[in-house]
């Protein structure tokens, strides 16, 4: 096997956002927003103590600035992770009251993104912060949650698009089910009217595809191989030596 285990896939959002292809730019922005809007919203509320409305506005402003001021042009993967860079950009935005006052002007007429801030607010208020959770750690946790949620969406599209029948529902039951324990393979086989080996094969396929999807997504959200390695380890909860 050459070139590592990452299959060739979409380019990093850092490059794609500067692409001459409008469709590619739009797709990259969609990925970036999906992965980061909740972490940004939560960070602004937790670290900067902003209320819901103001945090939602600042989150919208952040993504607008990202494009209008081409913030990613200054990003250097050799100096920091993209996640860290974006968090520092958010801090800069939130800290600058003068900029906050001129938000409307800066937005430059950019259409606000359609984001479920109400849902994010409920989620934030339902989940009390851990006593030792720093804003940076909270940002990372929310980022990991968003990456996994986005990967789940892509997994559903990929498996259903390929007509992989029971693979996706099986994965949802086993990995996202509300119960403490997933049903046995025999129970699942009976429920879906298939053999136990069909269940194990379907689950293997879905897990393999999910892993690949997450790694693809991380590749999009990073700027270098080293950053990809670090972010993968961060997502998987492994300390970087």
């Amino acid at each position: 096997m050459t070139g590592g285990f990452f299959p060739p896939t979409r380019a990093s959002v850092v490059e794609a956002l500067r692409s001459g292809d409008a469709a590619e730019r739009e797709r990259a922005l969609g990925t970036l927003v999906a992965a980061y809007w909740r972490p940004v919203y939560r960070h602004v509320r937790r670290k900067w103590g902003k209320g819901h409305e103001e945090a939602a506005d600042l989150t919208q402003d952040f993504f607008a600035e990202l494009l209008t001021r081409d913030l990613l042009a200054r990003y250097d993967a050799r100096k920091a992770r993209l996640r860290t860079y974006l968090r520092l950009c958010v801090d800069g935005l939130a800290a600058n009251a003068a900029k906050a006052a001129s938000r409307q002007k800066r937005g430059g007429g950019a259409a606000p993104l359609s984001l479920d801030f109400e849902g994010a607010r409920e989620e934030l208020e339902r989940r009390a912060p851990g006593s030792d959770e720093t804003p940076e750690r909270a940002f990372e946790t929310e980022w990991a949650r968003s990456v996994l949620a986005l990967a789940l969406e892509r997994l559903a599209v990929a498996l259903e698009g390929r007509g992989k029948g029971i693979a996706h529902p099986l994965f949802e039951i086993c990995e996202l089910g509300a119960g403490a324990e997933a049903p046995s393979y025999a129970e699942l086989a009976e429920r879906f009217g298939v053999s136990v080996s069909d269940v194990t094969n379907g689950l293997s396929l879905a897990r393999r595809e999910f892993r690949r999807t997450v790694l693809d997504l991380l590749r999009e959200l990073t700027g270098s191989e080293e950053e990809l390695r670090l972010e993968t380890r961060a997502l998987l909860g492994i300390d970087v030596p």
């Binding site: 096997m1 590592g4 285990f5 990452f6 989620e123 789940l152 999910f210 892993r211 390695r229 998987l236």
Partner: protein, 327 residues
């Protein structure tokens, strides 16, 4: 896109990390350990009816270094058939390209935890000697472990000792076979890093664990040999003996010689170090310490205390007889 609950996040992360064993004969169990490059999982082999430990890389390995290292470790283990080295059963590659190998599932305590249950110095030193055995075996086959530390030594329920994690072991005979004309006696094991200062590790590359790394290894010198393991064994010996026992000059001298700054001043290998510990236990002179005459006499007295006591008792009895009966 809805926010995922914490429980779902944990399960999804596990789903990513868990090896996909479809296509193998193993059934995945729980995760039992995690190292610098991969994780270890219990896996059942239904065909043979046994549970094994399966070591697999956690992450995709773009550079290929870690994958090479894992495969290399499996081959090092396969070469070391010794009761103190975990046997490898099987190797393979997962559908996502991650290499794995199956080995005996080791149950027990790590060295420091096992030693804490041994009340006497003598028992702890005997445990240390059992650690030296597989290391000496490896040295005899030209293999240097390079990462000996308490967490890499497991003590089983019957006192059996297993040295684990040979992932950064160095193969000295690889170097020799490269210099020799003609094909090597057995297939060489691929090094995990480019060869500059020696096979397996480039000069300047630091692999190992701080606190247990010999000075030359910590500096990234290319040519570390068995004496780097001697240094780590010396650190283990110091820990097993404890500060009280190290007030004994002869034992302290053994530790000092094993952990000498310059490799040339250390024992040449694990057997020589073990032999000195055995001499210490048997009350014989150790090579690491030049005794003064009175120290030799004191050691002689301790070693032959029973015979001396009998002799003294006899002499006392004779003296009593002389005093009482005048003859």
């Amino acid at each position: 896109m809805t926010a995922l609950p914490d429980a779902a996040v944990s399960r999804l992360v596990r789903a990513i990390r868990a090896p996909d064993l479809s296509g193998t004969r193993y059934v995945l169990g729980r995760e039992v350990g995690r190292g610098g490059m991969g994780s270890v999982w219990e896996a059942e082999d239904p065909e043979l009816g046994r549970v094994v430990a399966l070591k697999v890389l956690d992450l995709p390995d773009a550079a290929g270094d870690l994958a090479a290292r894992l495969k290399r470790e499996a081959r090092v283990l396969a070469r070391l058939e010794h009761p103190g080295v975990v046997p490898v059963h099987d190797v393979g590659t997962l559908p996502d390209g991650r290499p794995w190998y199956a080995m005996k599932l080791v149950r027990g305590d790590r060295l420091d935890a096992a030693a804490a249950l041994l009340p006497t110095l003598r028992e702890r030193l005997r445990l240390f000697l059992r650690v030296c055995e597989p290391v000496a075996f490896a040295h005899a086959r030209g293999i240097v472990h390079r990462d000996l530390k308490p967490s890499n030594v497991m003590v089983g329920p019957f006192g059996e000792v297993l040295v684990l994690d040979w992932g950064i072991a160095r193969l000295l005979d690889e170097e020799a076979s490269e210099r020799r004309p003609g094909p090597p006696a057995e297939p060489p094991i691929e090094p995990c890093e480019p060869r500059a200062g020696g096979p397996g590790t480039a000069a300047g590359t630091v692999l190992g664990t701080p606190g247990y790394m010999a000075p030359e290894q910590a500096r990234g010198d290319g040519g570390v040999d068995a004496r780097a393991d001697v240094w780590a064994l010396g650190v283990l010996l110091r820990g097993l003996a404890g500060p009280e026992a190290l007030r004994a000059r002869r034992l302290a001298a053994i530790v000092a010689k094993a952990t000498a700054e310059r490799p040339a001043e250390r024992y040449e290998g694990a057997p020589a170090l073990a032999a000195d510990v055995v001499r210490y236990l048997d009350g014989e002179p150790v090579t690491a310490y030049r005794e003064r005459p009175w120290e030799r006499a004191a050691r002689f007295a301790v070693r032959h205390r029973v015979a001396l006591l009998l002799l003294l008792a006899y002499l006392a009895a004779r003296a009593a007889v002389l005093l009482v009966y005048g003859r």
